[in-house]
């Protein structure tokens, strides 16, 4: 017994005397030191790509508020309603109705996700700057600058007066910077630098389609210049992309939204969503709500992101296959207010075939699931503001199981890539830059390339009356040309997250949206009654209140909010 006592005694004293007893390293995590090598650069760089979809580490807002595909920003524009019933995601209802509270979680969710992106890119740049031989990592640094350019571009076009967080700011943890105005020059600098250092072709260690080529950086530079009205610079940048031969249009417009065609020649830069049989962490989590409901599609949810009547109307053509002159005051026939059990005659007038790759409407095939059934596929009721259509670009195609994601409620974390830049966009931007610089024929050429693809490509359904053609004669004047280019941009790029910003940079947002609200009210009467008037303050999103509160006075609110 006494021996035991002695043992106990000695053991207890020994335990307390060990020197490194109070030095404990973290388990299962990476220290700064362990990242200071090539593997670390790659890990952080992948992390910088990862937040393209908005799914940052923690932070405010549900997945759908920070989504990288800008779906809810389309709901502000005349392209989309938020979808579902009014009470569902009431925060977004308030945004769509132009009651913009500075505490709205959608604003803060997207804001924080984008700054996460900027700073993850900064983390890579900072790490490379401090490496023994920074030049060993020029391609990685160029990718980081490309990504930072993208995140800052999104921040710029959403909030207008924005802070710029540089890699020096990052290194010094100086994250509270003033939002004294636009940061276009810094964005341009990133894309120019990326264009200079990114590989010009894929191959070897740089073969993955998710990484941008030098021409992608030039395309984004062109877009940045276009947003500033620098028409000739933009045209130069964009035409260098067109002339690079790196890209071409898919012969099938809809291939851009199917697994087989998403990473084809038309793709310049995309969020590479990938679904799997588990929780699909790389699927489009921000778009989880955006599937139609209804018995024919099986277990999908939740009926968000519905195209507007205004968008559907824009696909009307005249007998020459050109956009209908008075499309905005002419409604295509639709089944709003009619249950699927009641009769409905689909629109018989001429239509651009792209409508049925974009807008799901009753009686027309819904991405291979059979004819869209009408109300059964719509979650919203007839008193809600969301209308009778569903989104087709966002919906995976029946049998395209590679893109069918599980997780969340069911099969909505899709693998359909979101195109940040595709070649058709570059053509249309080049057309716009050309037209604005007075070079109408160049513009017509680019627009016609896009229309020719639509004309010659396959159709979504055999029954509708598709009539489409290219502009076969010169535009009468710059105004007509501008109108044609802008209209083409709308129907080609619909529901791809750009419409709101196009309207803003054309300085027509206030009038266009007020007109849209009143036109839409011809059918969805409650929408026109409930929506508040759009005014100049809506040209910038409000800076989130939490951002102002946490900035220690660095940030000030955008005018009017």
């Amino acid at each position: 017994m006494k021996k035991i006592l002695i043992l106990l005694l000695s053991a207890s004293i020994l335990v307390a005397c060990s020197d490194d007893f109070t030095e404990i390293d973290p388990v299962g995590s990476l220290s700064d030191a362990s990242l200071q090598n090539a593997t670390g650069v790659d890990l952080l760089l992948t992390g910088a790509y990862s937040v393209l979809d908005g799914m940052r580490n923690g932070g405010p807002g549900a997945d759908w508020t920070k989504s990288g595909d800008n779906w809810w920003l389309d709901a502000i524009s005349d392209d989309a309603h938020k979808g579902s019933t009014d009470g569902d995601q009431a925060d977004l209802l308030l945004i769509e109705l132009f009651q913009w509270d500075t505490t709205n979680p959608y604003f803060e969710g997207r804001w924080q996700a984008l700054f996460a992106g900027v700073n993850r890119a900064n983390a890579v740049i900072d790490l490379i700057n401090n490496a023994a031989n920074p030049s060993d990592f020029s391609v990685q640094k160029a990718q980081a600058r490309f990504l930072r350019g993208h995140y800052n571009f999104e921040i710029q076009r959403m909030w207008v007066n924005v802070p710029y967080i540089s890699d020096e700011n990052y290194a010094a943890s100086e994250f509270n910077q003033p939002n004294s105005g636009p940061i276009w020059s810094q964005i341009e600098a990133d894309f120019s630098a990326a264009a200079g250092s990114l590989p010009t072709s894929r191959g070897g260690s740089y073969s993955e389609p998710g990484r941008p080529l030098a021409s992608a950086a030039r395309a984004y530079l062109g877009r940045t210049q276009l947003y500033q009205g620098k028409w000739s610079d933009a045209l130069t940048s964009l035409e260098s992309v067109i002339n690079s031969g790196d890209y071409a249009l898919n012969s099938d417009f809809s291939a851009n939204f199917r697994s087989a065609g998403e990473n084809s020649s038309e793709m310049i830069f995309a969020i590479q969503f990938a679904s799997d049989g588990g929780q699909s962490p790389q699927g489009n989590r921000g778009g989880t709500l955006n599937m139609p409901i209804g018995s024919m599609t099986g277990g999908m949810c939740c009926g968000f992101y519905q195209p507007t009547l205004d968008l559907a109307n824009a696909f009307q053509t005249d007998s020459n296959g050109l956009p209908l002159a008075n499309w905005s005051t002419t409604d295509i026939s639709n089944d709003y207010g009619v249950y699927e059990t009641e009769a409905h005659t689909p629109h018989s007038g001429p239509l651009d075939p792209r409508i049925d790759f974009t807008v799901g409407r009753r009686g027309v095939d819904l991405n291979g699931f059979g004819p869209m059934s009408g109300k059964d596929n719509i979650r919203a009721s007839f008193t809600d503001i969301s209308g009778p259509f569903v989104n087709k670009k966002n919906l995976y195609t029946a049998g395209d199981d590679t893109n069918r994601g599980t997780g969340g409620w069911g099969e909505q974390r899709t693998g359909i890539n979101y195109h940040i830049l595709r070649y058709a966009d570059v053509l249309l931007m080049a057309a716009e830059a050309a037209v604005e610089s007075g070079n109408l024929e160049t513009g017509r050429n680019y627009v016609n390339q896009v229309r020719a693809r639509a004309k010659n490509g396959p159709r979504a359904d055999a029954s509708p009356n598709y009539v489409i053609d290219t502009y076969n004669s010169s535009w009468s004047d710059q105004a007509a040309a501008r109108n044609a280019v802008r209209h083409e941009r709308r129907v080609e790029m619909a529901l791809e997250g750009h419409r709101l910003f196009d309207l803003r940079r054309w300085n027509i947002m206030v009038d266009a949206l007020n007109t849209y609200i009143s036109n839409e009210g011809r059918t969805i009467t409650n929408f026109a009654v409930k929506a508040n008037p759009v005014s100049a303050k809506h040209n910038a999103l409000p800076i989130p209140l939490n951002a102002i509160d946490q900035s220690q006075g660095a940030l000030s609110q955008n005018p009017g909010h």
Binding site: T22, S31, G47, P281, Q550, Q552
Partner: protein, 1030 residues
């Protein structure tokens, strides 16, 4: 060295002095025997305890001093002469100065105590069964605030002297020497095993150094007594609990009318899939909804209940509480023991919830020779906690009254389709029912073994090793819910498990001696502690059968997913010392110092010294003292520096990056597997160091009226510097998405007083009664911050709290509602307010710039009470006893965030409480709520404002107890020495203006105090029980 030690040991066991055996009895002034009285030979660790007849036997030598003591009696010291028999009569005493108080590593008589240490009268607190030992602190110790944790098995939230940190404000628990900050530890101890609870409130806690700044709760468990007959105790009770308070909700006709009025107010023509269209709504007989497909739904309909479904009635159901404890204790000359077993089954007042616990304990002690004592405590507890997915209370609060619980085929009913416009809430009954087999199972072991070696009569060496281990295993199944408007298409099984263990090894030397009038009690020691945690979670989808017998991760058809894994450790090494000195029984002083070295901070900052000192003067023991006013008067003062290292994480000094599939991986190919990536998950702060609290305490202990009335008042001031919190202004919204670094960001001060009053007496007719009242005021103020302010967490309406200099921590912040606009002229004359209109809220123009916007936010409420109090009344007459215990909180506000769900149109198609009947209309201009609307206009319910701030004061009848002790004759027929039957009622009555479910708001983080968010309500329990001793 070893040999020398052996020799000492052997000597010590063989040196037995010539001694005589002395026996006798101990009785009270009425000549009733006092069982369990302690007889100690002064200056040794020899001691015995009287048996049930008050008899004892002890070995002592002539000239030894024997001290006789028993709780509730004055002690007596007798010098042994020639006699073999010493009979002693102890006078009953309410003199609090005789109480033995556990002050940490030592015990002291209250007489000699100079710090602020509160004790719980455990006999009183545990006279009836309580389910969680921490409940014993509720209202019974001045300065301690206990808030119910909610659901069955949840640990109450304990705050000592309010808030003194931006950090975790939870006290340190010391269970028989084992230290932990895990509040759950209190639910795993059988309350019936607790002998003593002390609460160290001031610098006295400094002996626990770096973990002590939130106060320390020291729990000692029962250990039996030497030379004691074996006794057995059975305590059994059965009770019914129920929810007594919940909001009145609209019935279906009221809901229809409210819907109509809202649509009309917005200028639209009313139309609704359920209520039809036209001037008045019509309540449907069946819901107008498509039923899900499947054979079980064939021919089914969702029939609307006559008045609509009352969802609170559906989810709340009276529930039973069964509590059985068995214990045995006893002791011989050489050893003693206490063992017990407890079974508790507490059904939840919310259907399909509950808590079940089995705990066992063995405490024992034995002597090896005269000088060595070995002690052991072993507590093993197994519990099973039913978990709920979602928030059933929130769902019940905004589920439509149109939806029935089940359809006509007996399937659960639901919202079916969003276009049916019957809300978006999950049917809470179906959620609860489907989650009935979800659980967390815990196995906890708390145990220690120690050896005391009385090297000389003055010098004691003690070594001990203890461990607490918690093993959690959880299982949660998400079943398909075809009736829901957002039906899921994959069912999922999730499992979680972790193990947490903390061990501690303590060694100390204790020297006690008396030199003339001076008494010294010195202690020096070392302590090493280490905490380890490791856990993971996994989930899998696509289960063919929704049957618990099938719920294994291997049975799913989906891809298995590891949903999380983590591991961490932390350690502390400490040197500690304390010295107690007293002179003539009049002057007392204590000095304590502890040096802690922790793994939590970077090396340079990782050790710190925490000193404290206290003095006391027992004025009434002075020869010159005139006891005409006070019988007892004692003055105390203390000063101490205490640390707080209780901050969220183990390695806060370094940046931590993680390979995170969800937030850092990327599929560069657009399909297939993802490339691994990393992101910085946490920013470290190498400069981070301890929070240090400086505690100052002045106190008076007084006794009046022959000490029938005693009073203690402690006035305190706690100043905390280096407040630690996550610096969200450093990692602000424009920063990288890492968790903000923990930073020392300011100072705060908490001041106030604790007051307790006791009065007890026996009337001539034999009625014994006692009143114990205590009250605490603890007001805090932030005195320094490195940033202008910090905001609390953000919910649907943004952040609701703010912390800034000159204000209490976490005050409510938002727009101030002045009232409701009554006329267009009033709207026009007020500052420009977007959304303003007649019938809408009018906000105060705080900055007087003529525009209402975010710059017009201000302080709109204070979550900190002006006073918390408890009043305990005891009454006994012959065999009857009664006690009543009230407690309450006065002057605190509650931010009722749940009001968003049932008082506002935020979720328009859900139900509302009857509060909305008082909405503004031209005929109800004095309304409390603005005019009804379909959306949240005018920032009314989309940003924080004073509408949500409610008075949170309450007074609650916490317990009512009536007991009857069966006559001895009857008890002896049972073969028992005593038997008592009792009724116990808890939370029978609550007086409050708060309209939410429960004014007792469980506190979240220190920067979000007082935000009420549909927590599990406190319920009332009525139970009957019996206690038998053999």
């Amino acid at each position: 060295m070893k040999k020398a030690f052996l020799v000492v040991l052997m000597l010590s066991s063989s040196l037995i002095f010539a001694q005589d055996s002395i026996s006798g009895s101990v009785s009270d002034e009425n000549n009733n025997p006092i069982p369990g009285a302690t007889i100690v030979v002064e200056g040794t660790n020899t001691g015995v305890v009287t048996d049930f007849d008050g008899n004892y036997q002890i070995n002592a030598s002539t000239g030894d001093q024997l001290t006789f003591s028993s709780l509730g009696f004055g002690s007596q010291t007798i010098t042994v002469g020639n006699q073999n028999q010493i009979n002693v009569t102890l006078m009953s005493s309410v003199d609090i100065l005789d109480e033995v108080v556990v002050s940490g590593y030592q015990t002291q008589q209250r007489r000699s105590l100079s710090g602020a240490i509160g004790t719980v009268d455990t006999d009183e607190a545990f006279k009836t069964q309580v389910t969680n030992a921490a409940e014993a602190l509720q209202g019974r110790v001045a300065g301690v605030q206990v808030t119910s944790g909610g659901g069955p098995g949840a640990a109450p939230i304990v705050r000592i002297r309010g808030y003194a940190t931006t950090n975790d404000n939870s006290p340190l628990y010391v269970i028989d020497g084992i230290q932990t900050t895990d509040a759950n530890v209190m639910r795993d101890i059988n309350p019936k095993d607790i002998e003593n609870i002390s609460v160290l409130k001031d610098g006295a806690a400094a002996i626990y150094g770096a973990r002590a700044s939130n106060g320390v709760i020291v729990v000692t468990t029962k250990g039996g007594s030497y030379n004691m007959e074996n006794t057995f105790e059975v305590d059994a009770s059965y009770g019914i609990s129920e929810v007594t308070r919940y909001p009145d909700m609209l019935n279906v006709q009221q809901h229809a009318d409210m819907t109509w009025q809202s649509i009309l107010n917005d200028g639209n023509s009313p139309s609704h899939p359920q209520y039809g269209s036209g001037p008045t709504p019509s309540v449907p007989v069946f819901l107008n909804v498509p039923m899900p497909s499947g054979p079980e739904y064939e021919g089914a309909g969702a029939k609307v209940s006559p008045n609509g479904t009352s969802w609170f009635d559906e989810i709340f159901d009276p529930a039973s509480v069964t509590n059985v404890s068995l214990s045995a204790s006893g002791g011989s000359e050489q050893g003693k023991f206490h063992l017990s077993a407890n079974y508790l089954k507490q059904e939840g007042v919310i259907i399909h919830t509950g808590y079940e616990r089995v705990s066992t304990r063995l405490n024992s002690e034995f002597k090896i020779g005269d000088k060595i004592t070995i002690t052991e405590h072993l507590n093993v507890t197994y519990d099973k906690e039913g978990t709920t997915s979602g928030n059933p209370i929130q769902n019940a609060a905004f589920s439509s009254p149109l939806v029935p619980v089940r359809d006509t085929n007996g399937n659960f009913a639901g919202t079916y389709s969003n276009s049916a416009r019957v809300g978006i809430a999950n049917n809470p009954v179906s959620d609860l029912s489907r989650g009935a087999n979800d659980y967390n199972k815990n196995l906890r072991v708390i145990g220690d073994i120690s050896m005391k070696w009385q090297i000389t009569p003055e010098l004691l060496f003690k070594t001990s090793a203890g461990v607490t281990m918690r093993d959690l295993n959880g299982r949660y199944f998400t079943a398909l819910n075809p009736e829901h408007g957002e039906a899921i298409s994959n069912n999922t099984l999730s499992e979680q498990s972790f193990r947490q263990d903390e061990w501690v090894v303590t060694n100390f030397l204790n020297y006690k001696n008396t030199f003339g009038d001076h008494t010294l009690d010195l202690l020096v020691g070392t302590e090493a502690q280490k905490d380890n945690y490791k856990g993971f979670g996994a989930l899998r989808t696509n289960y063919l059968f929704e049957d618990p017998s099938f719920y294994l991760l291997s049975n799913g058809a989906g891809v298995p997913v590891i949903s999380g894994a983590s591991a961490s450790s932390s350690s502390i090494f400490s040197l500690l010392g304390t010295a107690n000195w007293s002179y003539g029984g009049k002057y007392f002083a204590t000095a304590t110092v502890r040096k802690d070295d922790t793994s939590r901070f970077a090396n340079a900052e990782s050790d710190a010294i925490f000193p404290s000192g206290s003095v006391a003067w027992l004025v009434s023991s002075e020869d010159w003292y005139d006891s005409s006013v006070f019988d007892t008067l004692k003055v105390r003062a203390s000063y101490g520096e205490l640390g707080n290292q209780q901050i969220g994480g183990s390695n806060l000094d370094v940046n931590i990056s993680l390979l995170s599939e969800g937030s850092a991986f990327y599929a560069f190919g657009g399909s297939g597997g993802a490339t691994a990536g990393a992101n910085i998950a946490t920013k470290g702060n190498p400069l981070l160091t301890w929070e240090t609290m400086t505690s100052t305490n002045f106190a008076l202990d007084m006794g009046f009226l022959d000490n029938k009335l005693t009073a203690t008042i402690d006035v305190f001031s706690n100043e905390t510097t280096g407040l630690v919190a996550q610096d969200t202004q450093k990692i602000s919204t424009t920063a990288i998405d890492a968790a903000a670094p923990y930073t020392n960001l300011g100072s705060m001060k908490s001041t106030g007083f604790d007051l307790s009053l006791n009065y007890s007496d026996t009337t001539s007719s034999g009625v014994t009664y006692a009143i114990n009242a205590n009250a605490t005021r603890a007001k805090n103020e932030v005195t320094e911050l490195i940033s202008e302010f910090y905001s609390g967490g953000s919910q649907r309406i943004g952040s609701m709290t703010r912390t800034s200099v000159g204000e209490p921590i976490s005050y409510f912040y938002g727009r101030n509602v002045l009232g409701i606009f009554q006329t267009a002229a009033e709207v026009a004359s007020h500052a420009t307010q977007t959304g303003a209109g007649v019938g809408r809220f009018k906000y105060e123009d705080i900055n007087n710039d003529g525009v209402i916007n975010d710059n017009d936010r201000t302080k709109i409420g204070d979550p900190h009470p002006d006073l918390i109090f408890g009043v305990n009344l005891n009454l006994a007459y012959k065999n009857w006893d009664m006690s009543m215990f009230w407690n309450g909180s006065i002057g605190n506000d509650i931010f009722d965030y749940t009001a968003l769900y049932y008082e506002t149109p935020y979720f328009f198609n859900g139900n509302r409480s009857t509060a909305v009947l008082d909405s503004w209309s031209p005929s109800n201009t004095g309304a409390a709520l603005p005019a009804l609307s379909e959306t949240t206009l005018n920032n009314e319910f989309s940003t924080s404002n004073s509408f949500f701030v409610r008075d949170g004061s309450y007074v609650r009848l916490r317990t009512l107890q009536i007991g009857y002790t069966l006559p001895d004759t009857f008890a002896s027929k049972l073969g028992a020495s005593s038997a008592r039957v009792y009724y116990n009622g808890s939370n029978l009555l609550t007086l409050t203006d708060f309209t939410g479910l429960d004014p007792e708001v469980p506190r979240g983080g220190a920067l979000d105090i007082g935000v009420y968010s549909a927590q599990y309500p406190t319920n009332s329990i009525s139970s009957l029980g019996i206690n038998i001793k053999f």
